[in-house]
């Protein structure tokens, strides 16, 4: 009775060797509670049932795995599978097996449909490989002069505008609507602020530099005056206020004080109190530099308009 596969095997043996050929196919969980070798009705023998199911599964797998092979018009493998299924079906008793049979049929008919469409297509004789070779020529392939083989293989140097050539030829076949773009593009709000900031910073720096230069020049000028006064009369102390105050201009006075403070800061001049406790200013001789640098004091001098006006009377 069971002559399909593994011919000659004792069907009542539930070793499932035929069924387990693929190993993982047997997903049933049922155990065979019956003893081996007993003469049972095939309809109820779980081993037989399992065998049938596994055979169906094998068939389904073979169709799926060897799809390409079965599609080839040169053989009748699909028909053989169907004949096989027919034989198996004679022994089908339970729904489970029938379901597998149905599944096999679905897979087989799909394949059949593809085979049929293949038949139809055979007549058109379109060879994509040949098309590709022709297309390469169209794209401007520069073939090497090594021999005839290169021509068939499509080897050679393909220029950069190869695809552009195809595209230009292709665009005539399309009714694509040209896309809409703003001519000048969109404007960006971003770039100007950073530039402004940079420019402003540059301007600031320049102004600062010019300020600094002016200050330095002024400081030097005042130092010059101080030194010349001192040289004229080294013994007489120069009153600080006499030195800085400009009787005619308050702002000038303040500037003079500002510049004089630089001299003192840089150690080019020194201030001291004379016997009357009035501040005096004198340039620092270079020999005395070492001594002066060790004793540095800070003080704040201020002047107001009132004071300045009063001083006008005295100077």
């Amino acid at each position: 009775m069971r002559k399909s596969k593994g011919g000659g095997e004792d069907p009542s043996r539930h070793n499932g060797s035929t069924g387990r050929r693929r190993g993982d196919r047997n997903s049933e969980g049922d155990h065979d509670g019956f003893g081996s070798g007993s003469l049972q009705d095939d309809d109820n023998d779980p081993a037989t049932r399992r065998e049938i199911r596994s055979k169906y599964r094998d068939l389904i797998n073979s169709v799926q795995q060897n799809r390409e092979d079965m599609l080839s018009p040169s053989n009748n493998k699909l028909t053989e599978v169907l004949e096989e299924a027919n034989k198996l079906f004679k022994d089908v008793r339970q729904p489970r097996e029938a379901a597998l049979d149905a599944q096999l049929l679905v897979v087989a008919t799909d394949l059949g449909k593809e085979k049929a469409s293949q038949l139809f297509a055979e007549g058109s004789s379109f060879n994509p490989a040949a098309f590709a070779v022709h297309l390469l020529s169209f794209m401007g392939l520069n073939r090497l002069e090594n021999g005839d083989n290169e021509e068939e293989n499509g080897e050679g140097y393909l220029p950069n505008d190869a695809w552009d050539r195809v595209a230009r030829r292709a665009e005539c076949c399309f009714r694509t609507a040209p896309t809409f773009h703003y001519m000048m593009g969109s404007f960006h709000a971003e770039p100007p602020p950073p530039k402004q900031r940079i420019e402003r910073q540059r301007k600031l720096k320049k102004m600062e530099e010019s300020h600094q230069e002016a200050t330095e020049k002024e400081v030097e000028r005042i130092l010059g005056y101080l030194k010349s006064y001192y040289q004229d009369d080294p013994t007489t102390p120069i009153s600080y206020y006499e030195f800085v105050i400009d009787p005619n201009s308050f702002s000038r006075t303040v500037e003079n004080m500002f510049h004089a403070s630089f001299l003192i800061r840089d150690g080019l001049a020194r201030m001291y109190l004379d016997d009357d406790k009035l501040p005096c200013i004198a340039p620092v001789e270079e020999e005395m530099e070492g001594a002066a640098s060790t004793s540095r004091h800070q003080c704040v001098t201020s002047i107001s308009m009132k004071t300045w006006r009063v001083s006008q009377f005295y100077l």
Binding site: S117, A121, S124, A129, W163, R165, A170, C173, R175, A177
Partner: protein, 238 residues
Amino acid sequence: MTQRKRLSNSQTPSQSKRRSDSLEEDDGDMPFTQPSSSQVQRGMEKFTNSQVDQKVAEVLQYILVKDQKKIPVRRADLVRNILKDYRNVYPEIIRRVVQTLDQVFGFKLVEIDTKNHLYILINKLELSEATAPLNAPSNPKMGLLFVILSVIFMKRGVVKESLIWNTLKKLRVDPGEKHALFGDVKKLVTDEFVRQRYLEFVRVPHTEPIEYEFRWGQRAEVEVSKAKILEFMGQVSD
């Protein structure tokens, strides 16, 4: 586009029954169905002509910008984002849009998917080799697409993906490698061209392992002239 607004428009019972038809709608919005002519008339009375014209202009801009990427326009998006309160005069607005596209731009608004209501723009005019502008930069992607469409066409409309990849490899375009011009070829062909509806990339049923096949997309059916493809094939094979 991700806003979910509950529109307070009143809907007739017949409209709410057809809710299940439009699968593209968000859950928060009521699905759009064509208003009846009486509704349109009532709607037109609500708005001034210049208001409607303004909406027409907005719809036009929306369509033109969407067309830049060649992604089809969804009617649902149009209604939800642009029309909003003007839903009831949708037919009138679309009528004016189609007219303007036709007379001003020379475009046709075509519904390529009547179920999901997707629209694309195509050129009314046909280009020929003689009239194509010489200096206009060409898009190499169109060349690639054209090759694929030609192969599918010559194979009677359906082709296994492996055939396409093999043909492209012979043209030195390998889907596994990054191409100098096209970049990620696989993504371009299976994603971008499919989204633009130039190609269809569908799974073949009952295959193990999974196989896919290529077909012409809805946009290609409308935009591409099959006669011209045959002409090209003849030209190339000489």
